[in-house]
Every structure is written in C-alpha cells, then in structure tokens.
C-alpha cells in the first residue's frame, strides 16, 4: 500500500509538471504572436527570457521520468504514461523553441517599417494554439478520441500554411521591397506549421498512452 501511494504521488507529480510545461509553452506561443501582431519588442524579449524556465522544467521532468522508472518500475498504463511523458516533454520544449523563433522574428520586424501584408498569420497561430490546448486536455483526460480529433485538425493548419506561403511569395514577386520582411513572415508561418506537426506527435502519444496503440506512421 505504501509503495502504491508513492508511485501514485510520483505519477501525479509528473502529470502536474507536464501540465505546467504545456501551459508555459502555450503562453509562450500566444505572447510571441502578440509581440508580432502588436509590434511589441518588450513582450518578445520576455518570451526569450522565460524560455530558460521551460528548459529547466524539461530537465526536471526528464529526471523525474528516469527516477520513476528506476525506483518505481511502473507497468501497463503507468508505464505507458511515464513513457508518453518522457516523449511529450521534449516536444513541448521544441514548440517553445519555435515560439522563441517567432519572438526573434518579431524583434527583427519591429526594427523595420510595418508590412501591410494580406496574410492571416494570427488566424493560423490561433488554430495551432487551440490544437495545442486541446491536445493537452486530451492528454490530461487520457482521451484518445479527442487526441484523434486534434490530429485531423492539422490538415487545416497545413492548408492555411499553403495559402500564406503563396500570398507571401506573390508579395515578394510583385514588390521586391518587401522581400526581407515577407521572408521573415514566411519563417513564422513555417514555425506555426511545424508546431501543428508537434501537436500531432503529442496526440499520437496520447493515443498510445490511452489505448496502447501505435498510430505514428500508420497512414
């Protein structure tokens, strides 16, 4: 009984830390996009500064996963949970890195005249952010169906990326003075598109955790 309480405490602690990391990552993405849309260099710099906290959280969760496996030897659903946490953690950290890259672009663009480009990057970012939030909810509630639904949403993000890609290329072709700024926005679109892929990875791990089914590369 005592052993079980210790294992449950370890698993609860892991879950709390991942949710904290997920929340920090989601905030980083939202603030980076805010900094980009509102030309707010201060907020962009805060995103970069706060990334250290996310990195430390990743290290802490890694250490907790190793300790839990070594000392508690989880099995079955507990094992799948710990393995999923160990894999989701670096994914969240990479999403935060993409948020940092968006913040860096925001800082660069803020040193140049505003580009009135007809591209809806905020919509794309909102979609990615919503996917991330729903994916974390699905992970927390061990809900494979919800995770699968998020995976299906990645197609829409890819479609938005393609639209923005072509809009920005056309802008560069038609007005060469926008080339640098358009290229920077193109990078932002690519970062958001990659975040969608990472969210898909999180959802695949949630399906594994809930159902012991390996769906990655299954299509």
């Amino acid at each position: 009984m005592e052993h079980q309480r210790i294992l449950d405490r370890a698993l609860d602690n892991l879950r709390d830390r991942v949710l904290l990391l997920g929340g920090e990552t989601e905030t980083a993405l939202q603030r980076a996009m805010y900094a980009l849309a509102e030309r707010d260099t201060g907020t962009a710099e805060e995103v970069l500064r706060d990334d250290d906290r996310i990195d430390q959280l990743e290290v802490e969760i890694d250490r907790l996963c190793v300790e839990t496996i070594a000392r508690r030897q989880p099995a079955a659903r507990d094992l799948r949970f710990v393995i999923s946490v160990a894999k989701i953690t670096p994914i969240l950290e990479r999403i935060a890195d993409h948020a940092c890259n968006i913040a860096r672009v925001a800082i660069d663009l803020n040193n140049e005249p505003q580009l009135n480009a007809p591209v809806d990057l905020p919509r794309m970012a909102a979609h990615a952010s919503s996917m991330l939030r729903t994916a974390l909810d699905a992970f927390t509630s061990n809900d494979a169906d919800a995770a699968r639904a998020v995976i299906a949403e990645d197609d829409e993000l890819d479609t938005l990326y393609d639209q923005i890609f072509h809009q920005l290329i056309n802008l560069m072709v038609n007005d060469s003075s926008t080339t640098t700024r358009s290229a920077r926005l193109l990078f932002v679109a690519k970062h958001i598109e990659r975040i969608g892929d990472y969210v898909t990875d999180i959802c695949e791990l949630t399906v594994y955790m809930a159902e012991a089914a390996f769906i990655k590369h299954s299509n």
Partner: protein, 283 residues
C-alpha cells in the same frame, strides 16, 4: 482422479510473439505448438476448490510464467502438470492435462516416468547430502538411464554445463554439494533435474531465496534452457516474469484471468484485474 470435462471452461490460446517467430523462422512453428494442453481443470484440497476451470495451452520451447497474489493457485496449478499434488492426501483433480497427446491423469499413466519427463525445481534448493557428482547422477542411476561409467560421467558433465555450473565445480565434483553457495546449490538442483533429460522443467520460485547476482544467473539460465526445454516458472517477482518469460499467465482466486505474450501483459493487458495487479492497485 477421474477426468471430466467442464463445459464452462475458458479456453485460452496463446499467440507466439511475432518477434520470436520471425527470429526462428519456420522451424519455430513446431515449437509454437502446444506442448501441454490443459482443459477444464478443477482441483480440490478436500472440500476446498483451489483451481476452477483452468484451460490453457503451454507452447513448447518457451518460458511461461505464472503470476498472481499468494494463494491464487499458481503453485498448485504448476504441480498439477507433473502430478506432484498426488502426494498430498485428500486432493482431487477434474479435467485433463495432455502432454504430447497423452493425458497424464489417465489411469495407466506411469507417474515416475511422467516426473522424469516433467522435472521440477523448488523454491528452496534441496541438494542431497552427497557429492556434487552424486547429486546430478542420482536420477540417472535410479532410472538406469546409462550403461557405463563414462556415459554416466558424460551425462553429469552435460547437465552441469546446461545448468551453467560446470566451470565452477568441475574440479571438485567429489566435494559435498552442501558446501556450495545458495545460488550454486539451486543451479545444482537444476542440473539434477536436467540430467534425466526432461522435456518440461517446472520451476516454483526458483530464485526467491537468492541474492541479485545468483538470481541473475538463474534468469539467464532459464532463457538459455528454453532452446531445449519447455519451461514453466512460478514467480512472485513480476519483474522477473517480465525479464525471462515469453508468455505470462495471471491467476487470481484459483482462476486463470489472462494469458498473453509477456510484453502485452506488462504494457497493455486485456483484463482490468491483470492491470490492477501488475500496477499494484489490487484490493
């Protein structure tokens, strides 16, 4: 001891793990076939029913582990596989245990011959107060399995090698077996069981009294032995079951709850009872 059929018996058939089949090719098909088929087995200690409607196939040349809480019937079931329970007064068996097509509970079964084919290793090592050589030679001699001294010596050496004990004892075969360490004594008992060339080896918690190094040697030995023998092992140590077995059967209150590939049992068992047990959430 009359055999009877039980309509309600649950039949559990095990799939050979894909990796095992792939690794050994077509020759493995015969090995994957059931060496032991248990059907509708009930077992009673006097009026108390200890096993209920157990049906399962134990594949040849693999390791099957039995796990479950104390008193769940796993050791009792193990002992039904070579009729060791016959020695306990007031016990009764229903159902059938078929080994290579022969029902071991049929009236004409030669129980001595059966126990030669289905050897057993116990929790506590129990070497005879004899020399290392005589311990291993004991079963060969009483079963009159060899005709010459050199043949006997060859069989003893072979058994000690199979039990991974030969390098440690080859220079002191005439020394008392009681002078060996606990782990060595247990491997000697395994050598003694192997010396009569059994087809199946039953192991009842063979490493529970050993230190981690001796336990590791026993576990490596078990994995090695499955190339030649069908191994059935009872263990309280779930990590040990996970390490050494190809298939795992979970028992609870005298019932077989689930039998499956070990990887499946320890990562995604089908039954909630199994999951609750291996994650420590029982009761």
């Amino acid at each position: 001891m009359a055999a009877s059929t039980t309509q309600a018996a649950m039949k559990v058939t095990i799939e050979t793990p894909k990796t095992e089949r792939a690794a050994t090719g077509s020759a493995d098909e015969s090995q994957a076939a059931a060496k032991i088929t248990v059907s509708g087995l009930n077992f009673y200690y006097g009026p108390v029913q200890a096993l209920s409607h157990i049906s399962l196939d134990i594949p040849g040349r693999m390791v099957m582990a039995f796990i479950g809480p104390s008193g769940c019937g796993k050791s009792t079931f193990l002992r039904t596989l070579n009729r060791m329970n016959d020695t306990i007064p007031g016990t009764r068996v229903e159902g059938s245990v078929i080994i290579d097509g022969q029902d071991i509970y049929a009236p004409n079964t030669d129980v001595v011959s059966l126990r030669r084919r289905v050897g057993m290793v116990f929790q506590k090592s129990n070497p005879f107060p004899k020399s290392i050589f005589d311990n291993v030679a004991y079963g060969i001699r009483i079963n009159r399995l060899t005709g010459s001294k050199s043949e006997l010596e060859g069989r003893v050496e072979e058994a000690l090698k199979d039990a991974a004990l030969w390098p440690e004892v080859k220079d002191r075969l005439k020394s008392s077996a009681l002078g060996l360490s606990g782990g060595q004594q247990q491997r000697l008992c395994i050598a003694r069981a192997l010396a009569v060339k059994p087809e199946v080896v039953l192991m009842d918690e063979p490493a529970s009294a050993l230190d981690p190094i001796a336990t590791q040697k026993i576990e490596e030995l078990v994995v090695e032995l499955k190339k030649q023998y069908t191994i059935v092992i009872v263990t309280h140590n779930m990590q040990q079951a996970a390490r050494v077995s190809d298939q795992t059967a979970f028992f609870w209150l005298g019932k077989l709850i689930e039998v499956n590939a070990t990887e499946k049992i320890f990562t995604a068992p089908n039954e909630k009872l199994t999951e609750d047990y291996i994650t420590g959430r029982f009761g």
